[in-house]
Subunit: 234 residues, 2 copies
DNA sequence: TCCGCTCATTGCGCTAGAGCAAAGACAACG
DNA sequence: CGTTGTCTTTGCTCTAGCGCAATGAGCGGA
């Protein structure tokens, strides 16, 4: 993980190109004020940007690549909470009471991120109410998403739980009619609370039905076909 | 569900007494501006304030009583997402893209709430950045809480899942050393994804160990004792 | 080129917990 | 004060999915 030299202009350009949900209401001058205290950072696949429980010193916005947000149970068992794609911030739990990272962030591919010191991030949030309002919208969407996931966990058979987990993770990662998930079957197993063996058998049956392809460390999913395994209208 | 006549002064007084996390940074004049467009509403135990999927016309703040937030799976199976106690807002998913209630709100006891028209709520949010910042803090805390819950669902045995569900629901409802949960064993079952019978048997064993008392529709829990059923340090 | 590691696959026995049935307990209501 | 409906309790059977074991497959490093 290291800093990449980048002028303010370059950072502004990155922000403009991103069109992130947080900064969409800002004009050029305002974007410049946002970009000014940021630093451009790169990290290699597998590196951790931060770890669950550490004091939250920074706020991040993903520029390119893919980030895995991982939450660890007290037993040490990890679940993949979500993927972050470019334009989304990952720094949940920065303000107020919660001053530690509530999960870990791992680079799933080589990544570039913009990083703000927490104090700067807080200041910007106060200075530009539109960022705060947009953050609320994003957070609410994430919250709703998580409630739904919880309900699927409570309801379903193994196949339904897996269906929902794959669908959810694939959702943000669609390109054309397919999504590429950088995830192993073992990770899917811990994320869903199923055993490795069960996940393997279910994915096998889905592959036979042409719903997805399994490769090493990677799952290629056709979300429209995936829907056929679910009995309910969503 | 009906309106209770209340002057602006009375509504301001209610807000001041509540000391809700959203409005703690406002002075008296500002509180008055917040209270002005609100209406005081009462509802009886069992009534629904709103239903999942309806257009979200109102924003609510609980004054007295207890609210259950219920999320329905496409199959119709409900889970109790959380209890709302006085001072907390329940109107998640009001702004931005999400314009429908993402869950239902049911009065668990007779309740009184303050209600804002969504347009007023949005206007106040823009007018008073401190409300937006505090909302972010509350939302983040709720999000973190939900991620933890999800992980316990993925990890655990039946007893661990139930432990976490009871602990979580009891957390906000502590009075002295005990918490009174207005919940049936059947509701706990659907909320945890366990069967009625399993919940009954586990709660039975906990009651024998003095961890809780079961009454009709009500669970009395001693949270400190509850911790003893969990193998992990939390 | 071989070794070693991590991830994937498959068969099989076993157990936690689902699900049915049937009875008991309590509250609300006429 | 019985009736009705909802919630709780318990015994019993059965199966979905766990978890072990053993093998295979691909990748990286020396």
């Amino acid at each position: 993980m290291g800093a990449i030299p980048a002028s303010v202009e370059e950072r502004v350009a990155l922000l403009k190109r991103l069109n992130s949900p947080y900064h969409r209401d800002l004009d050029d001058d305002q974007l410049r004020m946002v970009a000014e205290p940021a630093r451009l950072i790169e990290a290699q696949a597998g590196e951790f940007l931060y770890h669950q429980g550490e004091p939250a010193h920074y706020s991040y916005l993903l520029i390119s690549g893919l980030i895995k947000i991982i939450h660890y149970h007290p037993s040490g068992r990890p679940i993949i909470v979500r993927f972050i794609k470019p334009g989304l911030a990952f720094r949940i739990a920065h303000f107020g009471v919660v001053s530690r990272y509530c999960a870990s962030a791992q680079a799933a591919t080589d990544v570039r991120v913009l990083r703000w010191d927490m104090h700067d991030a807080m200041r910007l949030l106060k200075e530009f109410p539109s960022i705060a309002l947009n953050s609320i919208a994003v957070l609410q969407q994430m919250f709703v998403d998580l409630v739904e996931t919880l309900n699927w966990f409570a309801c379903g058979s193994a196949e339904e739980r897996l269906f929902w987990a794959v669908r959810r993770l694939a959702e943000g990662l669609c390109e054309g009619d397919r999504a590429v998930l950088p995830i192993t079957q073992g990770e899917l197993a811990t994320s869903t609370g199923l055993s490795l063996y069960t996940v393997n058998r279910i994915l096998g049956s889905w592959e036979q039905r042409g719903i997805l392809e399994r490769h090493r460390h990677v799952l290629i999913v056709w979300p429209t076909k995936l829907a056929s395994v679910c009995r309910y209208k969503i």
